[in-house]
Symmetry: C2
Subunit: 414 residues, 2 copies
């Protein structure tokens, strides 16, 4: 059987992962600091490569896509700062998860160890190349990157800097590798590199996720959609609720933890919704019939609106009879990312926290707080909306697995 | 779009899972105790159904398969005892995994919550029906069972007892459901019940695992093969090593944590292997050329032998130059289950523990200790050889996920 170029490359990454997994924290952190300095020192080369990408794909890129792809001196500095911040975080590798002594004297412990090789499939943001590589190496893994073909020159230039930095600190250069052929044809093969990749993390939209479900034989962690709800209970502090809903919708509407649907208890709707109308003047409102009667500028919401992550200055609004109806609406339309309740009623808050099935449940705060940085993880590789392995914001620990260690003195089983 | 019978059934299980997830520990434990009593009280019905299975499939069952399928009064009692033991374990649901307060005052915690619906695909041991159902309900989940068609009557009878017991304690009967059509055709459909099943756990051999990889769109946890090695270092206590290797091979050769290959440091091979020959008189030996020259009754091992989980009284033996060669052999042939080193040399033990990539690494004890019961988990649903979510023996905690809870006082993000 002949080995494909992709598989040959994967074999080198796998071999490199063994060296990284036993390298000291100090060595891995040194890599991150050297790489940060080198990204800044070589920013001219990176900008030149990036200009090439922008030029080659000028015809096919929307202005938003071109903006995501574009590197600037400032963006390169922020990539470098990202690596320095990762270097300063505690090492997850070697942490004892738990442990005890058995009646027969065997000492049992579970120790956090690297996963091995992490495959990242992403779109055209070149900063993901250094961010993901930094997090993976910090957690003792090698990383195999498959970026978008539109960002290929930029990615090649960034990976060259990272590989040179690995060599500077005595780590194998293949520990950060980029798929050379970023054509569509290699995507399915990449997702099927079982035995080489220990975990796949897709960073991208619905079509990437669908392709993952269809082709991946490697276990993956989905960084999914966020159709997030904020429910304003009858017992909410309405002034506070106004601040929170404004923040949750307007502060950065394009991200996954922004609120997309506002649910309002009928008992406070007549008072609260006109205030929402005024405060969210910049936001397009789509409401249930009761909302429309209270806020005439709102258009009639369709079923699709309840199910849509707008990622834009659009808010769906529905008036509900009570907490149960709010939770039922959430059950039906939630993508399992983040759901919030605003209330002064302890029982309502407890019921909501216990019942709602989502990665994160928020009481009396903006849904926007659900990300790795805000929750104190230090850095984040994504936000998982699946239930296995990692749920919610994923930091360094989620890039590791555990190993059982049994220390005996000759015990045999009877 | 029409809904298939399987999907209609799955929808009922999903609805039931919501009730189980918020039921109290006391209610779930009451179910386990009632079910234990009822299994014993109705053992005549179970034995009759089982006799029907044995009769219907008499022509196609090997004697080993018939033995696995057969229920006896004693086996039913042991199923009941299993449920009582599960009831006595601590509830994993509601456990606070970790938590802290953020500088802005938001209180963050991660709480263990049920996964939802767990799908179990298994072969013809009827005891798996009650064991798996007991563990899943204890951890607050509903369970959707797909057994073998050869055990269908037995499974139907056991599930009837479990469902009646659920109703007795006020839980929905659909929380333990059995796929009615256990033909091969429904297997792929079952593995594709995304949106209904939150996790799949296969309990079976290589063909089931292969089918899982091909058809499952639901995330799954593999209970994989165990090609386990024991390495006898130059610095091993050879008397102790003899006891351990005998235990690891002979005590129960058919299980996944039995040792399949013995690796022996060249420095002690001439002394140790003749003693192995004598002590393991009941075991067929297959060795490398050096082994064969020291133990003439050993046949020559093939590459296949190194890669085979014999699950039988057969031991492959290879003499190695040093620890590195032992670890390299393990790297090449390990299935990532359990690997052991026998040595008095602290540095060798440390290097082995750090370097070997397996769910469990054992120092100076039998590989047979790697199971949930022996490690103190109280019960086990399987032993995972994958790295995500669960690695090694899986107890109740591995049947849960976590939910982030954020408690604020009006915080907004700036």
């Amino acid at each position: 059987m002949s080995t494909s170029p992709l598989e040959s490359q994967a074999r080198l990454v796998k071999a490199a992962s063994r060296e990284v997994s036993t390298a000291s924290s100090a060595t891995r952190d040194a890599f991150l600091r050297v790489a940060a300095d080198q990204l800044e020192a070589q920013s001219d080369k990176l900008l030149e490569a990036n200009a090439g990408d922008l030029h080659d794909h000028a015809a096919s890129l929307t202005s938003a896509a071109a903006d995501r792809l574009r590197l600037t001196a400032e963006r390169i500095s922020s990539m470098a700062e990202g690596l320095r911040k990762i270097a300063a975080l505690p090492d997850p590798v070697g942490e004892i998860v738990d442990g005890w002594r058995r009646p027969n004297g065997i000492e049992v412990s579970r120790v956090r160890v690297p996963l091995g090789v992490i495959g990242i499939v992403y779109e055209n943001r070149p900063n993901v190349t250094s961010d993901a590589a930094g997090l993976c190496i910090k957690a003792g893994n090698a990383v195999f990157l498959r970026g978008s073909s539109t960002a290929q020159r930029s990615n090649v230039a960034i990976v060259a800097v990272l590989q040179a930095s690995l060599e500077t600190v005595g780590l194998p250069r293949d520990a950060v590798s980029l798929v050379e052929d970023s054509s569509h044809e290699t995507a399915a093969e990449f997702m099927g590199l079982r035995g080489y990749l220990d975990c796949l993390i897709p960073r991208g939209g619905p079509s990437l996720i669908a392709s993952m479900r269809a082709h991946a034989t490697v276990p993956y962690i989905l960084d999914g959609d966020g159709n997030c709800h904020t429910y304003v209970d009858r017992a909410a502090d309405l002034e506070q609720a106004l601040d929170i809903i404004e923040n949750a919708k307007v502060q950065r509407p394009g991200v996954c933890n922004a609120t997309e649907t506002l649910l309002v208890h009928r008992g406070v709707a007549a008072q609260f919704l006109p205030a929402v109308d005024t405060r969210l003047a910049s936001v397009e409102l789509r409401g249930c019939p009761e909302t429309v009667s209270l806020v005439p500028r709102a258009s009639a919401a369709t079923t699709d609106d309840w199910a849509t992550e707008f990622s834009d200055l659009i808010l769906a609004i529905r008036v509900v009879t009570d907490l149960d109806e709010a939770m039922e609406h959430i059950r039906q339309y939630s993508t399992g990312h983040t759901e919030a309740i605003l209330t002064e009623d302890l029982a309502a808050a407890s019921t909501f926290c216990r019942t709602v099935d989502a990665a994160a449940v928020v009481v009396n705060a903006s849904t926007r707080f659900v990300d790795g940085e805000e929750l104190g993880l230090g850095a984040e590789i994504g936000i998982s909306t699946q239930k296995l392995h990692a749920r919610g914001p994923m930091g360094l620990r989620e890039l590791t697995t555990a190993k059982w260690i049994l220390r005996g003195e000759g015990q045999v089983r009877t």
